[in-house]
């Protein structure tokens, strides 16, 4: 009987092999072969030409992750100290924008930041500007923070809500100042949330090509743009594209393994629900 039910997962396991594992292996195969099909490391070494783009992607994503953490942490803490009912309402308010198309949310920022956009018009009324807001690195970071901030708040909140109020009271009772309570109790206990929040913001931020395309103009290329150009753009070269993808995968695995040092079990399931 037990064996019988275990067989129920066979279709899924086959599916994973065909549609997840083999495709990922294909990236590796393509990265190490030329157009003639022979083995080569030319593609990998060609990625070196894009070092500045790669470094800039990591840099922008890191800033966006830092800003998200800085903005999200206090909010997650505030929400976690509310009543269960208020918490549900607040969490829903935070998730609601995520239910709107990612593209349209980013498009909204285009409308706001444009030279003739809403912000510049408002500033114009005050006799300022117009400022060059869109097509800057700042706009790209802003887009990332805007889109991925909920990914930071949710895991932080799910960890903080488990911090028992009595633990904090105990620390206060033992004479800890609010600052000490924060650094000695709240912060260490929320480490798992911080590490999974960082992962969940950094991974999509470093690999995006939509945000950089829409808000960064032509001058803020990111790794995602490079990959897109190799697969669907004019530069069409899936071998080079695979090599760049491989580099991106390595960057992300590095980020994840660093974050795993702080938390051996990234609670994705908790975040999903």
């Amino acid at each position: 009987m037990k064996l019988h039910t275990r067989l129920a997962s066979v279709p899924y396991l086959l599916w994973v092999v065909v549609f997840t594992i083999i495709p990922l292996l294909l990236i590796i195969v393509f990265a190490f072969t030329g157009t003639d099909g022979g083995f080569t490391i030319e593609n990998i070494s060609a990625v070196g030409r894009y070092t500045d783009v790669i470094m800039k992607s990591i840099w922008l994503a890191a800033i966006a992750t830092g800003v998200s953490l800085f903005l999200g942490y206090p909010l997650a803490y505030i929400i976690s100290r509310h009543s269960a009912r208020q918490q549900n309402v607040s969490l829903m308010l935070i998730m609601l924008p995520m239910w709107m198309s990612f593209l349209l949310r980013t498009f909204a920022w285009m409308t706001l930041l444009e030279k003739t956009g809403v912000i510049n018009r408002l500033l114009g009324l005050a006799g300022l500007g117009p400022f060059e807001l869109i097509n800057t690195s700042g706009a790209v970071v802003l887009g990332m923070v805007y889109n991925y901030l909920p990914f930071m708040i949710l895991p932080l909140h799910s960890v903080m809500v488990k911090i028992d109020a009595s633990v904090i009271e105990a620390a206060q009772d033992l004479g800890a100042s609010p600052l000490r309570v924060f650094f000695k109790v709240v912060l260490p206990l929320s480490m798992p949330g911080i590490s999974s929040g960082i992962t969940m913001v950094f991974v999509p931020a470093v690999s995006t090509f939509i945000i950089s395309r829409m808000l960064g103009g032509g001058s803020n290329l990111m790794i995602g743009d490079l990959i897109d150009m190799q697969f669907l753009g004019n530069a069409y070269n899936p071998h080079l594209g695979s090599a760049i993808s491989l580099v991106l995968m390595v960057i992300i695995l590095l980020c994840m393994s660093i974050m795993n040092q702080f938390d051996d079990d990234v609670d994705v399931e908790g975040v999903l629900r």
Binding site: F19, L93, T111, M249
Partner: protein
Amino acid sequence: MKRKSSALSRIYTAVIMAFLYMPILVLIVLSFNQNKSRGAWTGFTFDWYRKLFTNRLILGAFVNTMIVALVSSVAATLIGTAAALGIHTMNKWMKKAVRMLTYIPIMSPEIIMGVSLMLLFVFVRTELGVPLELGLLTLILSHITFNIPYVIFNVLPKLRQMDSYAYDAALDLGCNPWQAFYKVILPEIMPGITAGFLMAVTYSLDDFVISYFTAGPTSQTLPLAIWGQLRRRVSPEMNALSTIIFVVVLVLLLVSNLSSMRRERRGRKAVRL
């Protein structure tokens, strides 16, 4: 737990919420703006909504989106539920391995999933000679791939919560294994299956990146059509579309939350009896 939140934390929460909602509100307002250029308000109109509903491209894309979302979610729900049942009976070691596999599509960046699936489809066509053109079918296969994990991670906890003897009890009371499954197990994990299905539908409706790489030129989904329109830059119709999507999502969330709240209240009343 209930505490008076300080004025400071209220203000902070309000500022973050304003940041999250301001762009959406701007889109909604501009969707009723006569002026085609985005910055200035020149009068109220429904024109953009009218144009939207006569836009063949958008309507066709909408139909495609619904087909892909429904077919892929149903398939993912079937495969994923069966998989969860199988995983549930696996031993600890196997369980861990399969869960790791299941995390891959959730944790890896969408662009990697997209290009790897594109490579697979291209490889199958060019190297294996299978006439599999990029189109609706490849879209559906790709969406099933990233939807299955959401179903699995929603169903597994329900199985874990279930009394481990419930299935035995059904057999004991005369059910054959099939009857035991649909009379006892299925009703108990149904909330998980429904949640997984709904999550799959929403992710599928919203997906841009993976669709972008696997759709091919002929079969557009709504996000792909939006992308095409946005690149041409002049599209107040998109404001109208954003507004509609936002309102629909808002209504759906309110309805589902209200009904669950009512159910909760009814449950509490029954306990008091």
